[in-house]
């Protein structure tokens, strides 16, 4: 048995599911951010695997992964500084405490 494309796709689907579970159920904002990083990584595994198995002569998938990483870094930086700013005000990182902005 050799490793083929759908093994990678199944691995990334499982990883994406775990990320969704974390993002939906964590109380901690930092835990939610980490779960989102997991989902980003599931997507990048997909991109690199498609690049390797379907279009091995081109590198568009890998180039796109560089952009995904950059945007994940930007998202993490802004998100974490927002978390710190909220923590300074309400002294908590739990999502159910972040209800100042009532709808």
């Amino acid at each position: 048995m050799t490793v083929s494309l759908h093994h990678f796709l199944m691995l990334s689907a499982i990883l994406f599911g775990i990320g969704i579970f974390g993002a939906l159920t964590r109380r901690n904002v930092l835990g939610i951010l980490m779960s989102i990083e997991l989902m980003f990584n599931a997507a990048t595994i997909n991109l690199v695997a498609f690049n390797r198995f379907l279009h091995p002569e081109q590198v568009w998938g890998q180039g796109l992964v560089i952009f995904v990483m950059t945007l994940a870094a930007a998202e993490a930086v802004v998100g974490l500084s927002l978390v710190l700013a909220i923590y300074r005000n309400i002294k908590s990182v739990y999502t159910e405490k972040m209800n100042i902005l009532h709808g």
Binding site: M1, V3, G17, L24, R27, V65, I66
Partner: protein
């Protein structure tokens, strides 16, 4: 049977990745979860190297493990209290969350199994750094410049939100 070693490497990386990411989403201490996430991102870099994407594997280690996770660990250390070790870390809807995540995973897996079954690599992986560089400064130059603007905006935004209220005139 000459393909046993790659299969074993892939199985090892998969088991490590799934186990570590389960630790990430279930660990009571969020610091422990962040350490597990660091290891999981390293395993993803290993998967990239397995797929022949050497430059992407190196930048995964540099940007994610060396950059994002360090910031995240600092923020966790700045924002945790000792009480957090004893609070529960999941909300009341975790059953429905697990159900939804399982449904999404199963749907994706079934779709992938039916569409992309039995596609094997036919070529030998070559180093890709030079061609990625040519791609980024050739066909992808517009998104490349746009993403540098996004990074600048993120930097300014992070500094702005990091300021105290009295400094923010």
């Amino acid at each position: 049977m000459e393909q046993t070693l790659p299969t074993m490497v892939f199985a090892l990386l998969s088991v490590l990745l799934i186990g570590l990411s389960l630790v990430v989403v279930t660990a009571r201490s969020v610091f422990r979860g962040a350490i597990a996430l660091t290891a999981a991102l390293g395993v993803v870099a290993g998967l990239f190297a397995f797929l022949g994407a050497d430059f992407v594997a190196a930048s995964q280690l540099l940007i994610y493990v060396g950059g994002i996770m360090i910031i995240m660990l600092f923020v966790i250390m700045l924002s945790q209290r000792p009480q957090d070790q004893y609070d529960r870390q999941t909300n009341e809807q975790w059953v429905w969350g697990a159900f939804f995540a399982l449904a999404v995973s199963c749907a994706l897996i079934m779709q992938f199994r039916s569409v992309y079954r039995g596609i094997f690599a036919t070529t030998v992986a070559m180093p890709t750094t030079a061609s990625i560089g040519r791609l980024l400064l050739g066909d992808m130059v517009v998104p490349f410049e746009a993403v540098s603007l996004v990074l600048l905006a993120a930097l300014v935004g992070a500094v702005y939100f990091g300021l105290d209220d009295k400094d923010r005139t």
